[in-house]
Amino acid sequence: MQTEELFRAMAQSIIDGDTDVAAELAKRAIETGVDPLDAINEGFVRGINRVGEEFSRENMFLPELVLAGEAMKAAIGVLEPEMAKEGTARQIHGKVVLAAAPGDIHDIGKSLVGTMLSASGFQVFDLGVDVPISAVVEKVREADADIVGVSALLTTTMAGQQEVIEALEAAGLRSKVKVMVGGAPVTPEWAEQIGADAFGRDAVQAVTIARQLVGLPG
């Protein structure tokens, strides 16, 4: 298969959410000497970007977004060890710690944000759901994170977002990390009120915002 065709097939495997095909194509790239970075940037990432755009237009839906993310993970899972071997690390735009606020067990949106950010070149540490404030702060410190994202889907757990910001201040970390918040009851006004750096409407917008927060063109 010509490289252009291969790249198109890679993008398509993400659009189709086909984990097996994505992994196959990633292996094929390695076997035929295609630069893993090119495979990611020219092939697979184009697929996930397309899915993100179509999702924003309501032409594609959450299951497709989630499956595209899974296929992306599979492809990167094959390519990353190869890049480590070659010493060509994928350029990481930044490190992101993600957590759902204490008491909040909703994780679909947050996981999607993690998937989209990973796919777009961020290193993501997803702490999961119902995460104690101290654990968030600790991970930000330990990973030397650039961004921390806190999600809350209940009005009753939203306060946790404010608490994370206050805890980062108390730990002397606030100036070293950007805070973005999201979740159904969260609004730009709330984000401003609690001193967050950004509010994200959905997983697709989260990528644009994360890029802005680390100083990349949106």
Binding site: L62, P63, I105, T155, T156, A184
Partner: protein, 483 residues
């Protein structure tokens, strides 16, 4: 004959229960309470880590002892709500955190005066058979939030109550509060005045608090209302039927745990499922598929002879507009036709987060229609029509017949002014008001004409003293002035 809506044929009901049993005995259910696990293991379930694999025989034994019906009584001890069979009742949806401000249309955090307004409206409207602890009072310390709501409902109403506790400690306090009015815990067990909602966590999890709630309610013989909430495509299988199976498995395991603590204690097959909107990631309560899941699981519960409940009659709209009307109305009718004993949801907007007294007033009209529908057509006259034609002589003079005067009020439900049936001229002369304006006016009138229930002052004093003590324990100097 009560009209019925059935989505499932008998074979499908059978398959649903079969798979539910299979899930329980092979896949298992996570039970995060060690006490509940102990009871299950002692009765023959295989328990490993936190997962209990419950054999069908154990569930069958629980279904033998569970009561098929029970009544909820009003504050004076009279039976008012029949759980079991096909009787249909409605109550306002519970536990909202916001209330719709009728002037600004803002969703603002609810406080005591909001709960009082809602209780007064629901008390004045015959369509509401029970009250609920409709909103959280945000100004009250969380640790007594649940019992405080109940206290307000007890003060301002005489109707039975649908409520729920947030902790085991406050659950006991809430039972004590109800016992004050019933005349003791024994008397309360004999004539329950409230049901307590208890929720499993999807998929197939009974949290520590959920399971303990079941055990405590069973031992107190206070009715437990399970509210299983599969979210089809997110926290449950994407198919409506798959979600109905999950509902059955969660509910059957709940009944099993419950009956092991106290065989014969009352429990309700209830829920608040929804589909998952694949564009917005929201859980639409007004979706027809949501109502279909409810009607289906209710049919499964009825096949087991159990009392039923569901969340219907709510809307995902943010204001009381056409969407609010149509979603609440359509789903209320589906619930009634499904013969669900307690239908919670009236008054609600924004995915069960927001309550509105004005919407309660509008929803009461849909509920009245639903109730009239399930009352069906009755044979009220010796001949259906033939006798009434005597002397008519081809003139439309039926209005002059005595029988018309005698029967019109039985045949026809007369709606309130919220439903406009005036002529165009009449409507214009009354101010060309829309439904929302008419509902606000009626809400004002109902609040003005509200009459407090005739409670025994001794019992009220006892309740007040108890709640004051608990409030002080939570750091409050004094209780807010409720009126």
């Amino acid at each position: 004959m009560q009209p019925k809506l059935e989505l499932l044929d008998a074979e499908l009901v059978h398959r649903i229960l079969d798979e539910a049993h299979q899930l329980l005995s092979e896949h298992g259910v996570k039970v995060q309470s060690s006490e509940a696990r102990g009871l299950l293991a002692g009765a023959g379930a295989k328990v490993a880590d936190e997962v209990a694999r419950i054999p069908e025989a154990l569930v069958a034994a629980a279904l033998e002892t569970v009561p098929r019906r029970f009544s909820l009584h009003d504050r004076s001890g009279k039976p008012a709500v029949e759980y079991g069979g096909d009787a249909v009742h409605f109550d306002p949806g519970s536990s909202c955190v916001h209330v719709l401000d009728p002037e600004t249309l803002e969703h603002r955090p609810s406080t005591t005066p909001d709960l009082v307004r809602i209780v007064k409206i629901a008390e004045m409207l015959a369509q509401y058979d029970a009250q609920s602890t409709a909103v959280v009072c945000n100004e009250i310390p969380k640790e007594i939030g649940d019992l405080y709501r109940l206290y307000i409902v007890l003060l301002f109403s005489a109707k039975p109550i649908v409520t729920g506790a947030f902790s085991v400690k406050t659950l006991q306090a809430m039972i004590e509060m109800l016992a004050i009015f019933a005349g003791g815990r024994e008397a309360l067990a004999e004539k329950p005045q409230a049901v307590f909602d208890v929720c499993p966590s999807p998929p197939l999890i009974w949290s520590e608090f959920g399971a303990e709630n079941l055990l405590e309610l069973a031992r107190a013989r206070v009715p437990a209302e399970m509210v299983s909430m599969p979210l089809a495509g997110a926290a449950a299988p994407v198919t409506l039927l798959g979600s109905v199976v999950q509902h059955a498995a969660e509910s059957l395991s709940g009944i099993t745990i419950h009956q092991l603590a106290q065989p014969g204690a009352p429990i309700v097959w209830g829920g608040a499922p929804a589909i998952f909107d694949m564009r917005k990631g929201t859980t639409p309560m007004g979706a027809i598929e949501t109502a279909m899941i409810d009607a289906s699981y209710a049919q499964v519960g009825k096949s087991l002879g159990l009392p039923t409940h569901a969340y219907l009659g709510a809307s995902d709209a943010k204001i009381v507009d056409a969407q609010a009307g149509l979603e609440s109305g359509v789903s209320a009718v589906v619930g009634a036709l499904a013969g669900i004993n307690m239908i919670s949801g009236a008054g609600m907007l924004d995915f069960l987060a927001c309550q509105s007294p004005e919407k309660l007033v509008v929803d009461a009209e849909a509920i009245a229609m639903a109730k009239r529908l399930v009352a069906g057509v009755e044979v009220r006259t010796e001949t259906l029509a033939t006798e009434m034609f005597a002397g008519i002589d081809f003139k439309g003079d039926f209005l002059k017949q005595r029988i018309t005067k005698e029967l019109f009020a039985l045949e026809q439900h007369i709606p309130s002014k919220v439903i406009d049936r005036d002529s165009m001229r009449g409507w214009q002369q009354s101010g060309s008001l829309d439904t929302w304006s008419r509902a606000k006016e009626r809400t004002r009138q109902l609040l003005e004409s509200y009459e407090p229930p005739q409670h025994d002052p001794g019992k009220v004093a006892e309740l007040l003293a108890m709640v004051e003590r608990l409030a002080q324990g939570a750091g409050m100097d004094h209780l807010p002035e409720p009126a």
